[in-house]
Amino acid sequence: MRHDHLLTAKQLSRADIEEVLSRAREFADDPAAHADRHPGALLALCFFEPSTRTKMSFETAAKRLGGDVIDMGSVESSSVKKGESLADTVRVIEGYADGIVLRHPSQGAAQMASEFVDVPLVNAGDGAGHHPSQTLLDLYTIDEHAGLDDLTIGIMGDLKYGRTVHSLAHALTNFDARQHFISPESLRLPRSVRYDLHESGANVREHEDLEAVLSELDVLYVTRIQRERFPDEEEYETVAGQYRIDAETLDAARDDLAVMHPLPRVDEIDPGVDDLPNATYFDQAHNGVPVRMALLDLLLE
C-alpha cells in the first residue's frame, strides 16, 4: 500500500485493498503470533468522540503487533476543552507517537490533520464523512461470505449521515459490484457520494423498499436510523419500522444472504436473527482486529 495516511476509502485501489485483506488473513489465523512485527511502536488514539469499540480494536491491533498505545483520554479532560486547535493537538502528539488514529466530529478533520503531521494518520471517523478502516473490515467480511466480485449488495438505513456507508460504497467501485441503496427519501445518499459513484461508473440503484431487491442480494448491509434525524418521534417510528429486519423478513431472501451491520445496533435487526446462519455482524466486528493489524502493519512499515 503506497499511502502515508488512510483518510478516505476513495484513495484505496483494488490492489491496496487486496494487500490489506490478504495480510489480515495471515493475522487472523493466529493473532497472537505477530508480536515481533512492531515491537515498541506507539500508536496515539485521539478520539474526540466516544467510540469504545473502534478504539479498543485499534488498541488490540497495536498490542498484537508488539506495540502499545497512548490515549489522550476523553475530550472533557484534555486541553481541547481549553480551546486548543486540532492542528496543534496533532502536531504535539506527532512528537510522541509513530502513528495517529483520529476520530473527530467535524467532516474533513482527518484530511486537515494529515496536512500537519508526517507520521501516518488513520481516519477513524470524521463526522458524517468517512470511516475507511471500518470499510476494510467490511470488505474482509464480505469477501469471506460472498466474494467481492460479481456481488449484489443492498445497503440500507441512514445513507445520508452514515459514514460507513459512504466509505463502503466508494471502495466497492473497485469491484464488479451491483450496489442497491435502500432508504427513506429523506436519508438518501448525499450529493457528493452520488457524484463520486456516478463519476466512477458504479452500478448503483436507489430504492425506498427492501422488498424490491431483497431476493437478489448476496449481502444486506444494515445501518441504524437515528432518532435525532427526525423532527418528531412518530415520524421516526414510521420510517424506522420500515427498515427493520427480523427472521420473517428474511423468508424472502436467499438462504445464503449475509446480513451485516457496523454495530452498535439498536433495534434495526431483531435479536431473533442472531441465531440464523445469515447473521454475520459479530464475525464482522471480530474481523476488526486482524484487519486493523494489517492496516497498521502496512502503514508503519
Binding site: 486547535s85 486540532l86 473527530h104 467532516q107 474533513g108 484530511q111 470524521d126 463526522g127 457528493s192 457524484y195
Partner: protein, 154 residues
Amino acid sequence: MTEKDTELRVSKIRDGTVIDHVPAGEALHVLAILGIDGSGGESVSLGMNVPSGRMGQKDIVKVEGREMSQAELDVLSLIAPDATVNIVREYEVAEKTEIEPPAEVVGLLHCPNRHCITNAGEPVETRFDVISEGVRCAYCETIVREDITDHLAV
C-alpha cells in the same frame, strides 16, 4: 446594434478593468468577488441587461483604478465562464484576458457545511476543487452548485 455601441452605454474609464460578457444579472456578484461595496471609494460603472449579439443580454462591469488578481479571476470564472477581462490604461485596452476555470480555489469561499473542519476555527484555508457541476470542498467534500458567490469569504 454593434458591440461598440453597447460599450458606450457604460462610461469609459481611463485606467482600470472592464469585465465584459458577464451573464445578465451577475454584475453585483462580480463586485462582491472584487470586494467592492462602495465603501472603498472606487469609481464603478455597471451595465446590466445590455443587449449582446453573443449572449442575448449581458452585464458589463468597469472599475476605475483597479486590476484583478489571479485569485479574483479564478472565482469570476466560476460565475462568468465566458467573461472577457480587459485591462485599460490611458483609455485603451492594454490587455485582454480570456478567463479559464482553475483546478482549485483557495481561501476565497466559505464552506456551507457547518460541520466542516474549515468552519471549526482551525488554522486552515478553505480549498475547493472545481468540478463539472460547481465546486467541492477539499475537506468535507460538500458540493456547491448554485449561488457560489453566497459563499465568498470577502
